[in-house]
Amino acid sequence: MKFLCVQCDEPMLWAETQGPVEGSLSLFFVCPRCGHKIALLTNPGETQLVKALDVKIGSPPPPPSPMKLLRSTLAQQHPLSPPPTPSIELLWTEAAQKRLERLPPFAREMVRQGVERYAQEKGYREITPQVIDEAKGELGSLFSFHKTPFPPE
């Protein structure tokens, strides 16, 4: 949408955005030649349409934020989790590593990630067969992908 000052045959330029107030945006445009001003006033549906486009009219938009539109409009939602703490390096004991390697190859990476996620949440620094068993109790479905039961120690 663009605005034309008919008197000057000159495109009008965005000057200011106010709102939304009670669901309405006021977008002010001015003719750079004669100074004539107009305002575009949106109803709540039109305001939401602008929001749905995920744009900010006029002033430079803030840097893009991942999933900003979804996170700002989904009425009931699970927030994104904080990233796993990178500083905690988890050590797999040899016994735990052997148990992991006895899984079918297609399941290993997923189980490894699930166990590590569980261990980080619990604050463990070392993954032992006992930690694996604990994770299995908490994350049961994750461990049901393997065709054979999770190998005992």
Binding site: P11, Q48, L53, K56, G58, P66, H78, S81, S141, F145
Partner: protein
């Protein structure tokens, strides 16, 4: 004659066009590491599209391909349930939102990960009385974010599991101008064929390459004796495909274990790839790979 829209350069200082351009560029950048984007669509609902998506992704992953799935059905997201990963948290990294990981490292994004409870529907904040004005645009924006804001990394295939019908297809075609192809799913039912023809026609109008037609639930495969009997009448997918000039990827018989395993969060092909249904699914997966001139590894 006063100036018209196209006579005026720029966007009058609103910066809207620039911001839309930046969104498009971010999306293209993210998608550039994904070799083949494939839409899985149907006409009617309930034809087993999502179950097919999950199993085809699993079968291709077993051939060494890196797979991702976009659960594009915002109203009825089911892919995480079918892969047993509903509890996985999504988190932010420097590269974007890290997708959930399923079996064989299949990466998944779905609105289901954001909904707090099973019974929570996808409701959007906004004036309900004007929802017809903005809801479609907002949902298209969310799908754009599923593509551009997820740190997919390098993938061989990205499957988009579309909701029933054709409403979303133009949006997908616009978001992904290099969409590699569409797999269209039907069942042996005249009602399903009646509607799926519209999906094929629209795909053609949008210049989306058609990988082929799959006729799902084409017979009942007995899990005990392996025999296949008619379920919905005589499969006619081959005739429909020939009539419409699209490749026929085959019939997939219904095996009740597929449904129970989907409920349990496991791909049917994980445990029953040698069953009649498993073999049919494998044939469809091979056809998809062949379409892109990929040899099954």
């Amino acid at each position: 004659m006063p100036k018209r829209y196209q006579d005026i350069a720029g966007d009058g200082g609103s910066h809207i066009l620039r911001q839309i351009g930046e969104q498009v560029a971010r999306l293209a950048q993210r998608m550039s590491d994904i070799r083949h984007k494939v839409a899985i669509l149907s006409g009617k609902g309930g034809v087993g599209k999502s179950a097919l998506t999950v199993n085809l992704a699993y079968l291709l992953s077993q051939q060494g391909y890196n797979l991702g799935i976009v659960d594009a059905d915002l109203s009825g997201p089911s892919i995480p349930k079918m892969l047993g990963i509903r509890e996985q948290p999504l988190f932010l990294s420097q590269q974007g939102v890290v997708p959930a990981k399923a079996i064989s490292n299949i990466q998944v994004v779905s609105l289901d990960f954001f909904l707090p409870r099973e019974e929570t529907p996808a409701n959007w904040d906004g004036p309900v009385q004007n929802a017809f004005v903005w809801k479609g645009t907002l949902e298209a924006g969310v799908l754009r974010e599923f593509l551009s804001d997820i740190s997919w990394g390098e993938l061989d295939f990205l499957f988009l599991d579309l909701p029933p019908g054709t409403a979303l297809l133009p949006t997908i075609a616009q978001l992904l101008p290099d969409l590699g192809g569409a797999v269209i799913v039907t069942i042996p039912s005249q009602v399903s064929h009646f509607v799926v023809k519209k999906s094929i026609t629209l795909s053609r109008e949008l210049n989306i390459p058609i990988i082929g037609l799959v006729e799902n639930m084409a017979g009942y495969s007995c899990p005990h004796c392996g025999s296949t009997e008619p379920l919905f009448g005589t499969p006619q997918g081959n005739e429909i495909a020939t009539q419409l000039g699209v490749p026929y990827l085959g019939q997939v018989p219904f095996d009740p274990r597929l449904s129970s395993l989907a409920d349990a969060g496991r791909p049917f092909a994980l445990q029953h790839s040698h069953s009649p249904t498993g073999k049919a699914l494998t044939a469809v997966a091979k056809s998809i790979a062949s379409f892109f001139q990929e040899d099954l590894r």
